[in-house]
Amino acid sequence: MGFEVLFKGTNMLRLLGGLGAAMKISLISIAISISLGIILGMLMSMKKPVINAISRIYLEIVRIMPQMVLLFIVFFGFTKAMGLNLSAETSSIIVFSFWGTAEMSDLVRSCLISIPPIQYESSAALGLSKLQTYVYVIIPQIGRRLIPLSINLITRMIKTTSLVMMIGIVEVLKVGQQIIEANRKSSPNAAFGVFATVFLLYFLVCWPISTFSRYLEKKWAN
């Protein structure tokens, strides 16, 4: 079946190392996306025409462009055109944050505007201050809607990091390919075993996250 190559030498460790490279890019991008996305989403919910116009173009670009094209533009395009010396890793983080921020801001905006005005008004009528209204009434409700949605985004970002091998980052999929190439003669069936293991690794990372999200969704169902 081709699993035996994984036990040759340090192959399994190398595969895990590749997973680590992918996770590093994911986690940094996710942290940036969530922070910037929350800020941008709050700005977008204020319904200022200029902010709305800019954010709409931004979201539209992200929606239309395949992530791979964005990666190529930043890594091969910008670096040459502007004489910047960006590493593949930095380029990936820029692209994934660019994408993640757009999606996150849209989630934050939709959660913010989904809170009915009556929630603010009835809090005010009870004498709660603006700050108290946000802390005790609005943010808990937004959190309950936002957390499951953003976890979904996080798993999609983790999965999509497999694209970074296209700009030369040695992540888990690339390591897999290298192992298969190196063992072409001795174990011609390595492809199945290696890719199945890669699949399993991604599954082990994403499955607990999405299970947790489903659990929260159920717990907070309104």
């Binding site: 929630q119 009528a125 009870l126 004498g127 709660l128 108290q132 005790y136 009434v137 808990p140 409700q141």
Partner: protein
Amino acid sequence: MSEEILKIEHLYKRYDDIPVLEDISLTVKKGETVVIVGPSGCGKSTFLRCINGLEDIQDGHVYLEDALINPASGESVQNRQRIGMVFQSYDLFPHKTVLENVILAPMKVQKRKKEDATEEALALLDRVGLSARKDSYPRQLSGGQKQRVAIVRALMMHPEVLLFDEVTAALDPEMVREVLDVILDLARNNSTMLIVTHEMAFARAIADRVLFLDGGHIIEDTDPGQFFDSPGTDRAKKFLQTFEYESVR
């Protein structure tokens, strides 16, 4: 007795350039139940919202006893808790249980102890027949139950004036009664209330005074008997006729 508690002087309210309320003046005595009726869009809900400072006003003054509570005066925040309001749409906090909904403001605004607030909350919930539902979430309650909780939540702040903005308008007919009974009970205990409603039989039963609003003006301000039996203006007559049906047989 019968001291004045709420005084509104020459209140003007416009949305952009569209006048909604024009030169409204009204004095409400302690313990009085004022019912406000009128056609849709006449400004009656806006009037309540202006009293509570949820809407800014373009001119005029609102006094609660001696305190000026115009939204712009900056004192409205401290004084707002002295006026309780219950809205048409269910406005309970969906992420909190019935009990948590009811004790949030007393604990955070009035800094009362949790045990103390809980004790009072349970007594009030019992009074509206909902103490068994204290740990339910709003989504598990019927519309009528939600509105009764909303009334308890407003009462917990010990407001001096209670505003009811069409609290039964979104309810199924069989649930209207349970909510109106709670308000009738409050009237018996001499609460000061301003009630906007389309339930004419209820208005007649509970009102000490009826205000008829139309086109942003107070057209009539009389006792309920006179208003419902022999309204002084044609507009009020026409309005009341919309609640009657002629037999087709």
